[in-house]
Amino acid sequence: MRPSVQEMIARSNGKKNKKVIEKIIPVLLFLIASVSVLTSIGIVVTLIVETITFFTRVPFFDFIFGTTWLPFSNKDAQFGILPLIVGTLKVTLIATIVAVPIGISAAIYLSEYASENVRRILKPVLEVLAGVPTIVYGFFALTFVTPILQSVFPEIKIFNAISPGIVVGIMIIPMIASLSEDAMSSVPKSIREGALAMGSTKFEVAWKITVPAALSGIIASVVLAVSRAIGETMIVSLAAGSTPRFDGDFTGSIQTMTAYIVQVSKGDAGFGTTIYYSIYAVGFTLFVFTMVMNILAGYVSKRFREEY
């Protein structure tokens, strides 16, 4: 039997805890929202604490200026991080060379040339490409891109900087394309139409009007993508090898900061050894690199944004 209205009111008045819930919920939700802050604090504190322990064993200047990374040597272990940074930068450089022209061109095509229907097909393709796990990209680099490179340039080794660099580049294309496209789409139509009315071609509009107007957004997208490339782990772990080297060779095995962390984690370095603490020192360096890039991207897009 359905309760009458009077019964419902009586029942509802019986809930004295209604007010208590209204007071508890905001506090509870605030605590939940603070988890992200706690996570950030947790990351920074763990990295700093373990890195400080590392620096009680390895002098700070040996770490940041050392050009030899030989952690596994029993007698003469050396922890100079420059080879790992150089390896990371090699991969990042190639990825940038691959991704920036392709990504920005794709963004220009999508925002200036493509019809609504074409865009509706191409954008999801970019999304799929962005959703492919990096382990799959790593497998692709090792078993497909490297053999092709080797058949064209025989001097390239199985593990090298070029193949993972190219594949990391493919991985970050969607990021540059979609963020740059957002920036270009927000340039108002009236400016474009003004230029077209003056007799400009579509290319001139894109190159001289839209791209300069959206430049801050485009640069920010590139910086964010480079930051992703620096922190990428599985592609380089699989295809770049594990030879930390301080030189300009792109054709041989290298090691990046992320790949070193993976290498040590795989070997299960004993808790408390210098090698164990070294992954935190390397992780901290990596964290600083990506954080600087992310802050830079935020600064560029805010500071140099054109308002219409």
Binding site: K18, E22, P26, L29, F30, I32, A33, V35, S36, V37, S40, G42, I43, T46, L47, E50, P101, I102, S105, A106, I108, Y109, L110, Y113, L122, V125, L126, V128, L129, G131, V132, P133, T134, I135, V136, F139, T143, I170, A177, T201, K202, F203, S227, I230, G231, T233, M234, S237, T258, I261, V262, S265, D268, I279, Y280, G283, L286, F287, T290, M291
Partner: protein, 292 residues
């Protein structure tokens, strides 16, 4: 005297028009690079892994012999991982989003939380692995269990879920809130009975996409110390386990070429899981795409 040289103008116009059409095709070609890369990638993996994909592959445990190697432990392990990650990350993410959109005042703390979430999204996943190793594996002594890995992954995808949920909540029109308050509902009643039901499609879509990222992540699992060779299925969240990307990583990095095919077959299973999840997200988005 003619001020405009007809000939020169025509020539220049032609040059500009040619440049225009050339660049149009250059830009189109660049866009198609992405499409071509995706097709090659998928074709390579399917042609390499197809031969190894079978019912035995799904029901066998990992093995030293490539022809006997199966993916059972990894498949079940990934499902267990999702059982921890999905509730943890969705509760934390949606809770944060409700707080930020409905309760937070515009002050420094709120700005700080917002900034934090966007910064967290830019932290490399391998660094989250280090956080998980220190806090969950060592400090909380969870070991390399499903729970430790699940918590780490939850924090990793938290920013994505928060941002997606915020957008979903923001797109619920103000009139619905006003009407609910007008009927005498309290704030929490309005949130639970009006705003959340209206925002659930958006929240679910974002959450499923975030979860599919967690299924594919490898680096944090390696750093936490998740093993590869597992000959049993986990019975609870405190058990050790292995996951799909870990298993694929192990097979890819083995020297024997036969394992490359096994790895490709593993990737096909992983991609099938991801495709399945993404299509659910798309279906939800299309089915509940209500306009107010």
């Amino acid at each position: 005297m003619r001020y405009i040289e007809q000939q020169a103008v025509v020539k220049r116009m032609n040059g500009r028009l040619i440049a225009n059409s050339i660049f149009k095709y250059i830009f189109l070609a660049a866009t198609l690079v992405a499409l071509v890369a995706l097709i090659i990638l998928l074709y390579r993996i399917v042609s390499q892994g197809m031969g190894h994909l079978s019912i035995e592959f799904l029901t066998n445990f990992a093995s030293r012999f490539p022809e006997k190697a199966g993916i059972k432990a990894a498949l079940v392990g990934s499902l267990w991982l999702m059982l921890v990650v999905a509730p943890t990350s969705i509760i934390l993410g949606v809770g944060s989003a409700i707080y930020l959109e409905e309760y937070a005042k515009q002050n420094r703390i709120t700005t700080f939380i917002r900034m934090n979430i966007s910064n967290l999204a830019g932290v490399p996943s391998v660094v989250f692995g280090l956080l998980g190793l220190t806090i969950f594996v060592r400090a909380m002594a969870l070991g390399n269990s499903i729970l430790a890995a699940g918590f780490t992954m939850s924090l990793l995808i938290l920013p994505v879920i928060v941002v997606a949920s915020q957008e979903a909540i923001r797109s619920v029109p103000g009139e619905l809130r006003d009407a609910s308050f007008g009927m005498g509902a309290t704030k929490w009643q309005t949130i639970v009975k009006i705003i959340l039901p209206a925002a659930i499609p958006g929240i679910l879509t974002g959450s499923i996409l975030a979860l599919s990222r967690a299924i594919g992540e490898t680096a944090p699992l390696i750093v936490i110390g998740v093993p590869v060779i597992i000959q049993f299925l986990p019975a609870g969240v405190m058990d050790t386990f292995t996951a799909l990307p870990m298993q694929i990583y192990d097979w890819s990095s083995r020297p024997q070429p036969e394992f490359q095919n096994v790895a490709a077959a593993g990737i096909m299973v992983l991609m099938a899981v991801l495709l399945f999840m993404n299509s659910i997200a798309v279906i939800i988005r299309n089915k509940f795409d209500k306009r107010y």
